[in-house]
């Protein structure tokens, strides 16, 4: 395993910085490859989840980010496979009341969260609305 840089080593988030959302569903990867469309499932977490995990793509090689993503996918229940990423800029991810925060973790210094900041009723539909927009504004990035 390649050593990770210390937690404080990464710079502040910028508007143009690229965030990658791992794609672990085979149908999502197939639709992205064949139709050029990121499906909504990619950005839709379980009901009530306040935020979405992403990786800061501009601060490591794609191989390093892929290594972390594969490990994370394997640790899911049931285990999944990493197929690629849906990439979106911080500026687009942080619009419509959403916020982006760098949230480095001991095993992933590149980790960040897109917080949905949902208030009011119909929370699930609000989640779906955010997921629709994030999917529409992101682009497919294949594995190296």
């Amino acid at each position: 395993m390649m050593p990770l840089p210390p937690l404080e080593a990464l710079p502040e988030l910028t508007q143009d910085e690229q965030l990658g959302r791992s794609i672990v569903g085979s149908q999502a990867a197939r639709k992205a490859r064949t139709k050029g469309v990121i499906i909504r499932n990619v950005f839709l977490e379980a009901e009530g989840a306040p935020s979405l995990s992403v990786d800061r793509m501009d601060h490591a090689t794609l191989n390093k980010i892929a290594l972390l993503g594969r490990k994370r996918a394997q640790n899911r229940t049931p285990p999944r496979h990493l197929h690629g990423w849906a990439v979106i800029t911080v500026g687009k991810a942080a619009s419509n009341r959403r916020t982006v925060e760098a949230t480095p973790q001991p095993d992933n210094i590149y980790h960040a969260d897109i917080s949905l900041n949902i208030v009011g009723d119909e929370a699930r539909d609000q989640q779906k609305g955010h997921a629709t927009e994030l999917a529409a504004r992101s682009r497919w990035l294949d594995l190296p």
Binding site: G25, S26, Q27, A28, K31, K35, G36, V37, I39, R40, N41, L44, A46, E47, P78, K92, S95, N96, E122, D125, K128, G129, H130, T132, E133, A135, A136, R137, R139
Partner: protein
């Protein structure tokens, strides 16, 4: 010298006059009822009889209704002519309608995708609703992609590759339907207890706006 035969309401015609050139010959109206009504009955009714006097020539046929019926018949006739014309001059392919077949094929794949990603099954009724909506929208907007969700719904996702805008129609196994749109950073949504309400006028407007996006 014989007098030229005359037709009511028309000027006398010379039977020996050459026919007008083909291009100038007017298209024969197969349902001239409305035209005759406009030329004869209405002027008579307004000129020869007062507003409150009974018109003895009116025999229970409402001129407005007759005109309306003639209009409908004329429309049917024109549609018949259009349908019976050969396909010459038309576009060889019509992309707006051809996506229906591939969309229905994608819909048939949904059970395999459900198994592949371990998602909740989609009911036959939900798939039937999706097929109905696809048939209704075919030729009216951009091609969709279709997929199941983690919540056991079926999504019809309209988006052109590279265009950062999308409209989604979501169908649930409990009969609910919803749509979500994200166009130019503005998000809208509407949920209905009954998916047969879809596609409604608002989502149609969203789909039109989506199709008008640059690059779509």
């Amino acid at each position: 010298m014989m007098e030229a035969p005359s037709m009511p309401g028309n000027v006398a015609q010379d039977p020996y006059a050459p026919p007008p050139p083909a291009r100038e010959r007017p298209w024969r109206n197969p349902f001239p009822v409305g035209g005759r009504l406009r030329r004869t009955i209405r002027p008579t009714a307004t000129s020869a009889f007062g507003a409150k006097e009974e018109n003895p020539f009116r025999t229970g046929v409402d001129p407005a209704a007759a005109e309306s019926a003639a209009f409908v018949l004329r429309a049917i006739w024109i549609r018949h002519l259009e349908n019976s014309m050969p396909a010459m001059g038309r576009e060889p392919t019509q992309p707006a309608t051809t996506w229906l077949q591939s969309a229905l094929e994608e819909l048939e794949e949904i059970d395999r995708e459900v198994l592949e990603d371990g998602l909740p099954a989609i009911s036959t009724r939900t798939k039937g609703e999706a097929a109905r909506i696809l048939r209704e929208l075919a030729g009216r907007t951009i091609p969709p992609t279709i997929y199941p969700t983690d919540d056991g719904e079926l999504v019809i996702h309209f988006q052109s590759p590279g265009v950062p805008a999308a409209v989604l129609i979501e169908l649930s196994n409990d009969g609910q339907g919803a749509w979500f749109s994200s166009i130019r950073g503005r998000n809208r949504r509407l949920r209905s207890d009954d998916s047969s309400d879809l596609p409604d006028a608002v989502v149609m407007a969203q789909l039109e706006a989506l199709a008008a996006e640059p690059g779509a």
